[in-house]
């Protein structure tokens, strides 16, 4: 019984670490045509890096029919766009100040981050 309780506690710690504490480091490097695929419940890549003070654009390709995946929302930027199925959609972003902006689906089940960096 003790072992089971310890395993349970470890499981809880594991959940906390995996979903909250773990900070992913990799982010897709900035390039002129970033492509984010929406498939199987995630954005791929989910972390994008773009330079500050420059208008950019991101292409989205939705390969999943579920309605959750149908809209991408950049709530801080008041951008919300429908993504057609199996067709690239370009989303134009204005010049941004450095910071992290999240983008999600309408239900917030798909999540991604847009990291805006000062130029080196």
């Amino acid at each position: 019984m003790l072992i089971i309780n310890i395993l349970g506690a470890l499981l809880i710690l594991g959940i906390v670490w995996w979903f909250w504490l773990y900070k992913p480091t990799g982010a897709s490097e900035n390039s002129s045509d970033m492509l984010v695929t929406v498939k199987n419940g995630i954005y791929e890549p989910a972390r994008l890096r773009i330079p500050a003070g420059e208008a950019t654009s991101i292409k989205f390709l939705r390969e999943e029919a579920s309605p959750c995946a149908g809209t991408v929302v950049f709530s801080d930027l008041e951008i919300s766009e429908e993504l057609p199925l199996n067709k690239q959609k370009t989303i134009h972003l204005p010049a941004l100040t450095p910071g992290t902006y999240s983008f999600t689906c309408q239900m917030q089940m798909y999540r991604g981050e847009l990291i805006v960096d000062d130029k080196p």
């Binding site: 019984m1 995630i42 309605p67 008041e78 057609p84 067709k87 239900m107």
Partner: protein
Amino acid sequence: MIQEQTVKLIIEGAGCSSCVGKIEGALNSISGVTAAEMNFAERSVSVEGSAPIDDLIKAVESVGYNAISTEGVSEDDLMDEKEAADFAYYKRLIREMTIALTLGVPLMAYSLIVGEMTVTTTTERIVWLIIGLLTAGVMYFSGKHFYIGAWKSFWNHSANMDTLIALGTGTAWIYSMVVVFFPAAVPDMARHVYFEATAMIIGLIDLGLALELKARGRTSQAIKRLIGLQAKTARVIRDDKEIDIPIENVLLNDHVRVRPGEKIPVDGIVIDGHTAIDESMLTGEPMPVEKKTSDEVVAGTLNKTGSVVFKATRVGKDTALAQIINMVKRAQNSKPPIGRLADIISAYFVPVVMIIAVVSALVWLNFGPEPAVAFAIVSATTVLIIACPCALGLATPMSVMVGVGKAAEAGVLIRNGEALQTASKITAMVLDKTGTITLGAPKVTSIHLVHAKEKDRVLELAASLEAGSEHPLAMSIVESAQEQGLSLSSVKNFKAIAGHGVEGVVEGKELLFGNEKLMRDHSVNVNGAVDVAQQMAAEANTPMYFAVDGVLAAIIAVSDPIKEDSIEAIKRLQKNGIKVVMLTGDNRATAKAVANKVGITEFFAEVLPEDKSDKVAELQMQGEVVGMTGDGINDAPALALANVGFAIGTGTDVAIESADITLMRGSLHGLADAIAVSKATLRNIKQNLFGAFIYNVAGVPFAAGVLYPFFGLLLSPVIAGAAMAFSSVTVVTNANRLRLFKAKEH
């Protein structure tokens, strides 16, 4: 990803048919292009192949022309495609649901009628093994997407609805298989299988998703209607020939012919003919509007009587209708502050639920009655299944979508979710008088001569002076002079004094035209005329003093008629408990007369344009949530300062972006409609949030077994599955109820 596709480009600058060969040649020489064919009449070229669009455009530019991509232009096609994709997905979900329930329902019926689904004898083990494998088949055919999604998002350090479903059904299935393979490893009493739960949950959630999809389709009807307003083709006059082309291919400055009964395809200015156009689909204004040469026409409106030719001034994405569609779409997906909480909760919810499930299982294992293992499994599974925050995430966006669309149908454009929410809380509404309560098109009603001899002469001089001014009162003088057939002279040293009037020299005479203060500032003697002026003002006219060479010549009374339905609309606002305040630059007496007429008790007169925002601030200091309504650019600071700024204007000439809410038609009923819609939407959102929270907040402890010690009750995972599936459906359906909402008839 490289795809074979057909791209259509619009070519600009191709004036002769010899261009065709050059352009086709340039395109065909790019690798990846399999065929390029130009339609000279349409000035368009279709390119087949896999070459990127940017390369195609560059190739066309390299031979000296401009190419414009038509990608994403036809909203109509996109909408159709989306519907087709949704329908295909719907059919897939129904098929998957049927497979899952075909196994799940008989199994559940068996467990309910026969009872215990225990595994003791070898025969039972074999039978359950077969059923277990069938269940695995269901998990594969009907639930594959949950497991793939869960797996993918797990490795992405995120968790979502798929995670919960996959964990819940997976736990139930794995436990059941352990019982089948190693019955000895579990206590006698816990030798229970839960295959029916797995199959039922997958089937029910697929059903829920399908129903949700159906209901979602209905919520976006407003956008569909707006898109449906667009004409599909336009009749363009090129090289003296009239050709019908798709509206995407209409170019700027094209001459477009519209016949009676046809829709205006793009925005433009009439250059030939005259007609009446029904603009009600955009503005809600039922009366057709007369259009003649140099009048503007707006895409989406309906030509009623005559045939006109107009020059295209805005095409494609730039037409007022396209911008409105775009804005409504954006607003539909923006969230009011009330939705933030739900967002934060759903962002952390899934991992929290996983922890609750583990804790619940541990508590059952430690303190639960026998068979503790079975109870632990059931409670953990049930917690995972019932806790999906999907409904919570949908609660706000679905209502906003319907609400914003509903408002758009009434000619009210709401810029974002925040404006929608704030509008429901307005306690005071500030109305600018001119152009808002009144028509904003004043008319000269009488001329009272003081030292002048002739009314026509007064009008002639005054009109000459005012010809350069843009002020609506000034324009009324000029119009009136033109109606009398008077000819105007040129003006020198023209100077406008904001809020007071104008001065200038006409035919060598020093002219002053404006209010009493202007006269006093220039020491013009107005004694003896003040009574007349006051009398005019008391009758809701604006008296304007006119002096020639420092002597008062006449007082001209100008009146701006009150809009037909202003009185009724203001009454509607007041009935809703909103304090209505009028602002005007006019003198006190005129303001009072107008205020009396429309039933406003509180008003500020003689307010200079730059002081309008101070009045708004004053009201805010008194604790009011202030809505400000104005029609002009001079109202912009006040509109911006107010909690909600309402701009009055037609879709063509208003900077839609600058106001929180734009009323497409002139009527003040739009204000009451906007507030009514926003209140109804907020109420709907609250119902949704409450409903969604109840599923989770009450559902989770119930599923964890809080009630067991008292009532011996433990929720079945199947019930949890059904509840989870239908929570989203409930929310979407409730949001759809908003569609039935009607802003009061007027």
